[in-house]
């Protein structure tokens, strides 16, 4: 049978355990709003019994460990989904910037107004061919004819300026994406270093049988931050470390940052990512870096290429019709458009300075001849082989629509990814999150247990006094 002193020890131990439970509850309550924090519990069990003649007698409670409710599978799923969300967000943001620069926005100033897109290239191209049509009705050397020539030249300048502007803005978006890739690679390397350092600290802390929950929480937060930048895979080691691989290259091995990401220029100015030490090109499929590269080399490159092809075709086709024409002075052989693509498209300065040099006629010395400008006007309705048998306007509409499809697709995927992330976060919160109500219930429970143990000690104290009094009397 356990002595009174033994029972007193058991009550004192119980007090200590309840106090520790209160400490854990306090820790949980303190981190109630910390999303990276995993709810902690005190793992307790009945302490080893003592054999007596009447049988085994309990010796109270003992603390085994402090554990946290972390689910590695959920953490891994959240990391993967964070990568997906990061990639899609980067794509959506940059493609929407490009969409804004195209300035194809349908407006309607009043209910009686026909909705249209008045500011973009679509309207500019219509104006260009309409100005050719107008000029075809009067190419004469008279005030009206000259003003129509001036209007045609101005429309050509407007279209060239619109192509230049959109091209420059899209190039800026692509250049900014290169900068973003560089910055995100730097942030990823910082995270990889942090993970390696935390691995080292966790291994050291747990080597002696202790726990490093706080460090594990920090590492999880860093891993999720890294996931937003680049997708990776992890393997857990028995000593508590987590190894991180990106694109098949080990970046963190235990407490060592084995490799780092770096950007390199493959020759076209569009930065790609490789492993610094391994020298292996890394093709990321998730995270903002992947999103930035996908947007830059995908929809944005297609948009830029589509606009370039359109501008190039416009320049070539117009000039091939225009060049053999004659101006009011009987001169011929000049081009209307200069340049080769959207970026450097311009209008011949001679005709800009003197619209009478607009080569509208098919023959010299006939001011009223409009064969060339009539052919220019008809070009607007022609399906061109260089534009997949589309007209200039319909090809541009298709280019705009393609960008819209790309954004719409990314937005749909992003909405799904965000919903999945939310669902996974809820799942994790259900197992790892801190519940205020739950902790308050625990608080009462531990308080009552503490009071009971204290009462036990009080009772034992009285019993001991009684025993001592028996001897003195």
């Amino acid at each position: 049978m356990i002595s009174l002193f033994g029972t007193l020890d058991m009550a004192a131990n119980s007090l200590s355990v309840q106090q520790e439970e209160m400490t854990i509850t306090g820790q949980n309550l303190a981190n109630v709003n910390n999303t990276a924090y995993a709810d902690e519990q005190l793992d307790v069990s009945e302490s080893a019994p003592v054999e007596t003649a009447a049988g085994d007698e309990g010796t109270g409670i003992q603390v085994n460990a402090i554990t946290e409710s972390r689910n590695p599978l959920l953490d891994s799923q959240i990391q993967a989904e964070t990568s997906t969300t990061g990639s899609l967000t980067a794509q959506q943001t940059n493609l929407q910037n490009a969409e804004a620069y195209l300035d194809e926005q349908i407006t309607s100033t009043s209910s009686s107004d026909v909705p249209d897109s008045p500011n973009g290239l679509a309207a500019g191209l219509s104006n260009l061919f309409n100005s050719f049509q107008s000029l075809s009705t009067n190419t004469g050397d008279n005030p009206n004819g000259l003003s129509l020539r001036q209007a045609a030249v101005q429309s050509a300048q407007d279209v060239a300026a619109q192509f230049n502007q959109v091209s420059t803005q899209l190039s800026t978006v692509q250049s900014n994406l290169n900068t973003d890739v560089k910055n995100d690679v730097a942030s990823s390397n910082q995270d990889l270093n942090t993970i390696a350092t935390l691995n080292e600290q966790i291994v050291a802390a747990e080597a002696g049988g202790g726990t490093a929950d706080q460090l594990v929480d920090q590492r999880e937060q860093t891993l999720e931050n890294l996931a937003g930048l680049a997708n990776f895979s992890t393997t857990a080691e028995a000593n508590g470390a987590i190894n991180v691989s990106i694109g098949g290259v080990t970046m963190v091995s235990g407490g060592v940052a084995a490799d780092q990401l770096e950007t390199y220029d493959p020759g076209n100015g569009q930065l790609q990512v490789q492993a610094q030490n391994a020298g292996t090109q890394i093709t990321l499929t998730g995270g903002s870096i992947a999103g930035e590269i996908t947007a830059r080399d995908g929809a944005l490159a297609s948009l830029q290429s589509g606009l370039n092809t359109l501008a190039s075709q416009l320049i070539t086709q117009v000039n091939s019709i225009y060049s053999p024409g004659y101006d009011l002075n009987g001169d011929t052989g000049q081009d209307l458009f200069t340049g080769t693509g959207a970026a450097n498209m311009g209008v011949n300065s001679n005709v800009v300075n003197d619209p009478s040099q607009f080569q509208a006629a098919g023959v010299p010395g006939a001011a009223g001849d409009n064969k060339v400008v009539l052919a220019l006007a008809a070009l607007g309705n022609q399906q061109l082989a260089g534009l997949n048998n589309q007209t200039i306007s319909s090809n541009y509409a298709q280019t705009v629509s393609d960008l819209g499809n790309a954004i719409s697709s990314v937005t749909d995927k992003l909405n799904t990814s965000q919903a999945v992330s939310q669902m996974l976060s809820n799942d994790r919160a259900a197992t790892s999150g801190v519940s205020l109500d739950g902790e308050m219930t625990n608080l009462i429970q531990y308080q009552k247990a503490y009071e009971a143990s204290a009462e036990m000690i009080t009772t034992l104290n009285e019993m001991l006094q009684t025993v001592v009094a028996m001897k003195t009397t």
Partner: protein, 312 residues
């Protein structure tokens, strides 16, 4: 399942974020009346609208072209009708001179023909409202007909400095017309000349000058045998031109009506494609606002509650 404190607030934020986003979209639709404004809203509709916009803009331009050609055609019509009247008068003089022996009377007729020649010259050098000479072909920057006179001041010859080409303009996709007619066309091909054409035998100025000279010389035989038939050819030629002008005017009217219908249809299609269903939009907006309000109220109510409140 345990509901953590953060999961509730996270869910709450996610839900009101979704509702706010829906409200913004619906409010935008309600205020603009448009369900599609950006390419990403509906790429297919945007593609269609840009194509319709281009077609409607071309249609409006065709209407401008038609109006412009109509003005020139009206000028040509007036000139041709005056010319027909003039040729008829010359024909009447040729007829009336038949059997007249009086040199005074014949001289008087010759003077009248001289005036008709001058009037015909004026008609031949008619300019439209833009300042182009309508019977100069495409060399229409200067007066196409010029006269040389003899010692008596009579027109001895009329020279044509225009050409036999005309400028056409598009009034519908692939359909071109011209309100111009060349003053002369002796090439045997292309548009018929108004004053002279080798295919019809018309040569109005030469024929009027010959008539005047025959009247002055009293050669009534030549007048009846040559001048009068020639003037008939000239009149037939002018009548043909007037008919052509009428056909042109009819074509312009028809093309204008068709283009107007097409533009109206295209505009209507654009409105249909992009217009928001206001009843639906406003109903959805109202529903979303209600849901948003309910979410806010219930959320704040629940977040204010915890076991801690009751314990304290």
């Amino acid at each position: 399942m345990q509901v953590s404190t953060t999961s509730f607030s996270n869910n709450f934020l996610y839900q009101i974020g979704q509702l706010q986003s829906q409200q913004t979209t619906l409010q935008g639709e309600a205020s603009s009346g448009l369900s599609v404004t950006l390419p990403e809203d509906n790429p297919g509709v945007m593609n269609q609208v840009l194509n319709l916009q281009s077609e409607a803009s071309s249609g409006a331009q065709y209407q401008n072209n038609i109006a412009q050609i109509q003005t020139s055609a009206d000028s040509a019509s007036d000139a041709l009708n005056n010319l027909q009247s003039l040729v008829e008068q010359a024909g009447e003089i040729a007829t009336e001179s038949n059997g007249v022996d009086s040199s005074t009377q014949l001289s008087s007729y010759a003077s009248q023909v001289g005036e008709l020649i001058n009037q015909a010259l004026q008609i031949a050098n008619t300019q439209n409202s833009q300042g182009n000479y309508i019977f100069g072909g495409t060399a229409n920057g200067s007066a196409p007909f010029s006269a040389t006179t003899d010692a008596s001041g009579n027109v001895a010859a009329v020279t044509y400095s225009g050409n036999a080409s005309v400028a056409e303009s598009e009034i519908a996709p692939g359909l071109t017309v011209s309100a111009q007619s060349p003053g002369e066309n002796n090439t045997g091909s292309g548009p018929e000349g108004v004053f002279a054409d080798s295919r019809t035998g018309a040569d109005l100025f030469s024929h009027l000058i010959a008539l005047q000279q025959d009247l002055q010389s009293g050669n009534t035989t030549a007048i009846s045998s040559t001048d009068a038939p020639n003037l008939t050819k000239d009149e037939d030629n002018v009548v043909t031109q007037i008919s052509g002008n009428a056909v042109l005017q009819s074509t312009l009217t028809t093309a204008g009506n068709i283009t107007q219908q097409q533009v109206t249809s295209e505009n209507s299609q654009m409105s249909n494609d992009t217009s928001a269903n206001m009843a639906q939009t406003l109903t959805q907006l109202s529903q979303t606002q209600t849901a948003y309000q309910a979410a806010l109220e219930s959320g704040t109510m629940i977040m204010g509650l915890s076991l801690m409140e009751f314990l304290s």
